[in-house]
């Protein structure tokens, strides 16, 4: 894989990403969803704290942004998915592969463009949302619990971006493997939501530990969420969360690459 070839292919992917409306719709959707979900979660937390009257409660303005990732990720999954499955739907994949015959370079170029765009999206939508959350919770009726610890907020936003980037790269891998929007959505939804929730309902501890290492919860752990979905503590550190995210992304890309290489376009 030549660096020049990869750079050129990434340039092409960059042009392709920004020249379709669906990209803008997905980004707008992600922003709207982040603001709405985060503000709702923040208001809920603040009214809960007011009702309980526990002294010394503090709500970081970035905390609801992290919680919102479980929902917002689907808008960004759609964006990453379309970056590859739209080419299979239109037949444009043949044009792409004729221009860049090395299959690995095509997939890497897509990841190289979609990943950083997701990172930036996470950070920017997060920053806007933090401002919105802070403004809303600063209203007198919400008791003034909100705080804005700059360093922690910055770290949270960065991690949010990294989480989105890795979920997007995983989605690209699934897209290359399934070659269709329907297949990709099904597989990715199962990985992010369906399977972990189903497994948690079985009540088995071994399976529950496994489900907590699937991408959505690994992401929450990585982003510093203290509690898992069952209300219990996260059984592992943020660093391990990142490792699990990387594993999921790497496995999906490896499978996608194998399919892309072996099958006829």
């Amino acid at each position: 894989m030549s660096a020049r070839g990869l750079w050129q292919a990434a340039g092409a992917e960059w042009v392709k990403l920004w020249s379709v409306r669906s990209t803008w719709w997905c980004l707008a959707g992600a922003l709207a969803l982040t603001v709405l979900t985060s503000v709702t979660l923040a208001v809920d937390a603040a009214t809960g704290a007011l009702r309980d009257g526990t002294p010394g409660v503090r709500i970081s303005a970035a905390e609801p942004v992290v919680s919102a990732t479980s929902f917002v990720q689907f808008a960004l999954v759609a964006l990453a998915m379309l970056a590859i499955t739209s080419e299979y739907a239109s037949g444009g994949i043949r044009t792409t592969l004729a221009a860049t015959p090395a299959r690995g370079v095509v997939l890497a170029a897509k990841a190289l463009v979609v990943g950083p765009v997701m990172l930036a999206t996470g950070v920017l939508t997060g920053a806007l949302t933090v401002a919105a959350v802070y403004a809303v919770l600063s209203l007198d009726v919400f008791g003034g619990f909100v705080v804005l610890p700059a360093g922690q907020v910055a770290l949270d936003l960065l991690r949010t971006g990294v989480f989105y980037a890795l979920v997007a790269v995983m989605t690209l891998g699934v897209g290359a493997a399934t070659r269709s929007a329907a297949g990709t959505l099904t597989v990715v939804f199962l990985l992010l939501m369906g399977l972990p929730l189903m497994i948690l309902m079985t009540g088995s501890q071994v399976l529950a530990d496994l489900s907590l290492r699937m991408p959505t919860f690994a992401g929450l752990a990585f982003m510093g969420s203290a509690r898992n979905i069952t209300g219990g503590p996260m059984p592992y550190s943020p660093g391990e969360g990142l490792v699990w995210l990387l594993v999921w992304a790497a496995v999906a890309v490896a499978v996608g690459h194998a399919v892309l290489r072996r099958r006829d376009a």
Binding site: S19, V20, S86, G92, R94, T95, L97, A98, A99, A265
Partner: protein
């Protein structure tokens, strides 16, 4: 130049391309003919490295397509006119392609100009273009890298008569510049006007690889018509010279197996008066039908 060497492609138990060996030479238009399902598109996809051959090789300038650096500068191809993302403008589609192969941005405007899509049509979303305009966009993409080899799969589909004539002129001009031009088509009359050389396949097998003139001359319908009051005598004389002669009318003969000059000379030597002497050339359509009669994949009512 493109070289296919024992190229084969199997789908399940069906051989789509069967042991195809041929060289496509520069400086001429090679027409690629065959019934639906004969393996034309599969062959082109294998040349482009999109489909993996089951066995054999397809080389471009002596190298597999996948080994080419910036392949669009070596081979331009139009496979499917509708392959552009329907929501992306033609201009953006070409810009992305240019970026992927390090082709200067100005080439995008140049090829759009060449195919007549410059300006407003290039800014329209590809999904809103007519089939004819999509073909032009696909041809623009093929020309983008100024390649020495061009492959077009059914380039005149959906084009109006002006467009068809334009494509014909373009193919001839590209070959005239010394490029290798490989065109598949169903339109025999169009091929007869465009191609110098023909490759005919049926059921994946090579049926003919010959100059257009030879294919036409080889048809049983190509021959010499003679009208003479001494048809019997002349027929005898011509048969003695190894020609095959039929006698559709009292004073008429149809001769195959010799050029018109030879028939005239023999008649003169024999002192036989002629009232009419003319060459009759089969159309490519007729020659093609004879060639592929045994290999129609999806023949209707045969």
């Amino acid at each position: 130049m493109i070289s296919l060497n024992a190229l084969s492609k199997r789908y399940g138990d069906r051989l789509a391309v069967d042991d195809l060996t041929l060289d496509l030479k520069p400086g001429r238009v090679t027409g690629f003919l065959g019934p639906n399902g004969a393996g034309k598109s599969t062959t082109m996809r294998m040349v482009l490295g999109l489909d993996h051959p089951t066995s054999g090789t397809a080389l471009v300038g002596g190298r597999p397509y996948r080994r080419l650096r910036d392949p669009l500068r070596a081979v331009g191809a139009l496979l499917d006119a509708r392959a552009a993302h329907p929501g992306r403008s033609g201009h953006a589609h070409l810009t992305a392609l240019a970026r992927s192969n390090g082709i200067p941005r100005r080439r995008v405007d140049e090829v759009l100009e060449t195919v007549g899509l410059a300006g407003a049509p290039a800014r329209k979303r590809a999904g809103t273009l007519s089939l004819g305009m999509s073909q032009r966009l696909g041809i623009a993409a093929a020309l983008l890298g100024d390649p020495g080899v061009l492959m077009f799969d059914e380039p005149v589909n959906g084009l109006d008569p002006d467009g068809v004539r334009w494509v014909r002129g373009l193919m001839r001009a590209l070959a005239g510049e010394g490029r290798t031009v490989f065109v598949s088509s169903h339109l025999m009359s169009e091929m007869q006007l465009t191609a110098d050389h023909l490759v005919v396949i049926g059921r994946g097998r090579l049926i003919a690889d010959a100059p257009l003139a030879d294919v036409l001359a080889g048809s049983s319908l190509t021959g010499v018509l003679v009208r003479t009051p001494h048809a019997g005598d002349l027929a005898e004389r011509l048969r003695a010279d190894g020609m095959s002669v039929s006698r559709p009318g009292e004073n008429e003969l149809e001769v195959t197996g010799a050029p018109v000059e030879r028939v005239g000379d023999l008649a003169h030597e024999a002192g036989i008066r002629l009232h009419e002497l003319r060459a009759k050339e089969a159309s490519l359509e007729q020659a093609y039908q004879e060639l592929t009669a045994g290999s129609v994949e999806y023949g209707a009512g045969r």
